[in-house]
């Protein structure tokens, strides 16, 4: 048993750090540091191109598809260091979500067309899963896809589509059969966002931003060739994808970054002749979240170590998701508490948005999206505890 990285892992980490120090453009890093999403599409795409040029465009892909062939531990180190360095997170919908499905279940033609374009940031992907009546209960989705010659004709609505306003392609779960169990009768389609009949309507969120969308499909024709695998077998592919989405779900790097920022903020905020960091109660609150994060970091590494042996990410990811998002939300609460009355100002006279307050509001989503924390607890109870 050794909780520390070994020499090779440390060398790899240093290599990543060096790369980040030199290759990450300062203006991107600064925007990310300020949670400034005004250039988010370009920032993500440009960073992806830089990673791709380095050969690191797809940390988790096998080498034969242009991936790095890195171990799980190396992938973890890479993602953690990127977050610590304020690099933009890679767009998960392409690299982490549709790509593994393509590699496992896609046709050779699909693989050859889409995978290189994902790597090179030629396409922006988004996800069409949730519907107005199908959130946690995804299998109840209703969006109809009816065969008409070589096409499916799609009608219906998707919601909570993240960053789809920039998208070139969307992968969708659609209903191709309503006769049997809801899990049967779902198909997995790849859809060009330029297809006539698609309308994207951004949803205004509580923090005033527009990062999710409603997407309406009105007689949208999608070639059957754009289906992944078998008709009505989409649920299988979706479940496979779900596992992949959750590899870095604990967000250790991002939380470490925000913890450091929290301490800096507290050390700069006057309190009783000293600073808020010197306040026993507030420092205890910081200590508690720092300890929880330290424990989760080890738990995360344990899960990675176990996964490296048996390959498939297990229900343990649910624990990482719950605790990881709780920590991120807690850190943003504490940052807001350091600001105190200053956090009341949401948009100041120069039009600037207060980072900590808007982040606090925005991060409420963490425990809702990506499988709500309640659903994750159900998964733990059923899959791990066997209840």
């Amino acid at each position: 048993m050794d909780l520390d990285f070994n020499a090779e892992e440390l060398a790899f980490r240093d290599q990543v750090r060096e790369f980040l120090a030199t290759a990450l453009p300062a203006e991107i890093r600064d925007r990310m540091h300020r949670s400034d999403d005004s250039h988010i599409r370009d920032d993500i795409q440009n960073w992806q191109k830089i990673l791709h040029a380095k050969g690191w465009g797809a940390p988790a892909w096998p080498v034969e598809f242009g991936g790095t062939g890195w171990s799980k531990t190396e992938q973890y180190i890479f993602e953690t260091e990127c977050a610590l360095a304020d690099a933009p997170a890679q767009l998960a919908f392409g690299v982490k979500m549709v790509a593994p499905v393509l590699m496992r279940y896609g046709s050779p033609q699909q693989q050859q067309y889409f995978l290189p374009r994902i790597l090179a940031a030629d396409d922006w992907w988004c996800q069409g899963y949730s519907e107005p009546g199908s959130g946690s209960d995804l299998a109840s989705l209703k969006m109809k896809a009816e065969r008409d010659g070589g096409d499916y004709v799609l009608n219906g609505q998707k919601v909570w589509n993240t960053l789809g306003q920039f998208a070139d392609w969307i992968f969708c779960l659609v209903r191709t059969d309503s006769s049997g169990k809801p899990q049967r009768g779902i198909s997995f389609l790849l859809i060009d966002m330029k297809t006539p009949g698609i309308t994207v309507r951004p949803t205004r969120l509580l923090d005033g931003t527009f990062e999710v969308n409603e997407i309406w499909f009105d007689n949208v024709r999608v070639p059957v060739a754009n289906r992944i695998g078998e008709e009505n077998a989409g649920w299988t592919y979706a479940k496979f994808l779900l596992g992949h989405e959750r590899t870095n779900i604990a967000g250790i790097g991002a939380s470490k970054r925000e913890l450091a920022r929290l301490k800096q903020m507290a050390a700069a905020q006057p309190k009783a002749g000293a600073t808020m960091l010197q306040d026993p109660l507030f420092a205890t609150r910081i200590a508690q979240v720092e300890i929880e994060l330290r424990a989760l970091e080890i738990t995360n590494m344990r899960v990675i170590f176990a996964e490296a042996k048996k390959h498939a990410p297990g229900p343990e990811a649910s624990m990482l998701k719950i605790r990881g998002t709780e920590i991120m939300q807690r850190l943003s609460e504490l940052q807001m508490e350091v600001l105190g009355p200053d956090a009341l100002v949401y948009r100041d006279s120069s039009g600037e948005i207060a980072r900590e307050t808007s982040t606090y509001l925005n991060l409420r989503k963490l425990s809702i999206f990506g499988g709500s924390n309640e659903i994750q607890r159900n998964i733990i109870a059923q899959m791990i505890l066997g209840l």
Binding site: T203, L206, P270, A343, L344, V345, L361
Partner: protein
């Protein structure tokens, strides 16, 4: 021990609630929010006509003199309706400061127009330094002939952009604070408007050599009156917060009854039922503490008053956070949208936690008193 309300008090609540349900529904409120001013003059005038702006004006001054209980009940309704108008700022806090400090002449000048809504006054008091000590004012007023010259920086003042009259607190001597009535368009007054997290209009205020005449000053040392106005304001804010909590919980219960997942309303899932039961217990404890704040906000014993108000703020801040966060959580993605009222209540409750001192600050005040006992 008596938890009933008088007929007059009950009528204030009913009147305000009826006004809101008829004239200030969620759709209307969104129009107001999206307007340039961010509040509605029409609504404000109507509140004046209903007498609600005269609640804190004594009967001998032509007001209603509804006291803390009446203010609480109206505050409940205002929190329920998420009103964006300066009720708390002008009709409670500024009015109270004027009632406590102003000369007969000043009262006659201001109180009738405050009651009608024609005059909007706000207390420009908070500064960076007041965060730790509410009476630690750095803005200074120095004698300038018969009048005064005032310099300083006030941080976020709710509804300052709507106000005709600013009541500016300023240090006169080491241990003396003066309160000065300054027209908001006076020379040297600069407003830096902002929008608060609960989408109310506010401003930071820069005062640079603002000259006012001697009769701009209200009364003598303003410390006691300031604390009194702030404390009555605190109790009224608690009442607003309680109103918001009650509404957001009701909205959550309703939503959980209608939202179907896995073939059943989510309100039938036991884990969510227990969450809502917990929210209800927070709500009821918050209601009790709002009552406590109301009944103690005028307690002449400053230590007992401080302890009671800090206990109320600490407990209600905890309730506001739990109820607000869980309401959003139980609404799922819909709770994150601007479309439903739940996110608006959530933000109002967040602002509650940040105004008048944080939960931790009040816990500290309470704890220090407990340690000193």
């Amino acid at each position: 021990m008596d938890f009933s309300f008088s007929d007059e008090q009950q009528m204030l609540l009913d009147t305000t609630r009826r006004f809101i349900s008829e004239r200030y529904d969620f759709e209307y409120r969104n129009t107001v929010r999206d307007s340039a001013d961010g509040w509605s003059r029409e609504t404000w005038t109507a509140l004046g006509e209903l007498g609600l702006l005269a609640l804190n004006i004594p009967e001998q001054d032509g007001g209603i003199g509804a006291g803390a209980v009446g203010t609480m009940l109206v505050g409940n309704a205002i929190g329920e309706g998420l009103l964006l108008e300066p009720f708390l700022s002008s009709a409670v806090i500024a009015t109270q400061a004027i009632v406590e400090l102003a000369s007969t002449q000043q009262r006659e000048r201001w109180l009738p127009t405050l009651a009608s809504g024609e005059l909007i006054a706000v207390l420009a008091h908070d500064e960076i330094s007041t965060r730790e000590n509410p009476l630690q004012v750095e803005t200074r007023a120095v004698r300038d002939g018969d009048g005064w010259s005032i310099d300083g920086n006030k941080s976020v003042v709710y509804h300052a952009p709507a106000a005709n009259l600013l009541l500016v607190s300023a240090r006169i001597a080491e241990n003396e604070i003066g309160l000065f009535a300054i027209p908001s368009d006076a020379a040297g007054v600069q407003l830096l408007p902002c929008v608060t997290v609960d989408e109310q209009s506010a401003a930071a205020i820069v005062l640079k050599d603002v000259r006012v005449s001697g009769d701009a000053r209200l009364g003598g040392d303003a410390k006691v009156a300031l604390q009194s106005a702030l404390d009555i304001g605190l109790a009224a804010l608690c009442a607003e917060a309680f109103g918001a909590m009650q509404k957001i919980l009701n909205a959550t219960i309703e939503y959980s009854r209608s939202r179907v997942q896995f073939g059943a309303p989510i309100g039938s899932f036991q884990a969510l039922q227990h969450r809502m039961a917990e929210m209800l217990m927070h709500l009821e404890q918050a209601r009790s503490m709002s009552y406590l704040a109301t009944s103690q906000c005028t307690d002449p014993d400053p230590l007992a008053r401080r302890a009671a108000l800090s206990a109320a703020m600490a407990r209600m801040g905890q309730a506001a956070r739990y109820i607000g966060q869980q309401a959003v959580q139980l609404h799922g993605g819909m709770g994150m949208t601007d479309e439903l009222n739940v996110s608006h209540y959530f933000k109002r409750l967040l602002a509650f936690e940040l105004r008048f001192g944080s939960t931790d600050q009040h816990l500290e005040i309470y704890r220090l008193r407990l340690q000193a006992a």
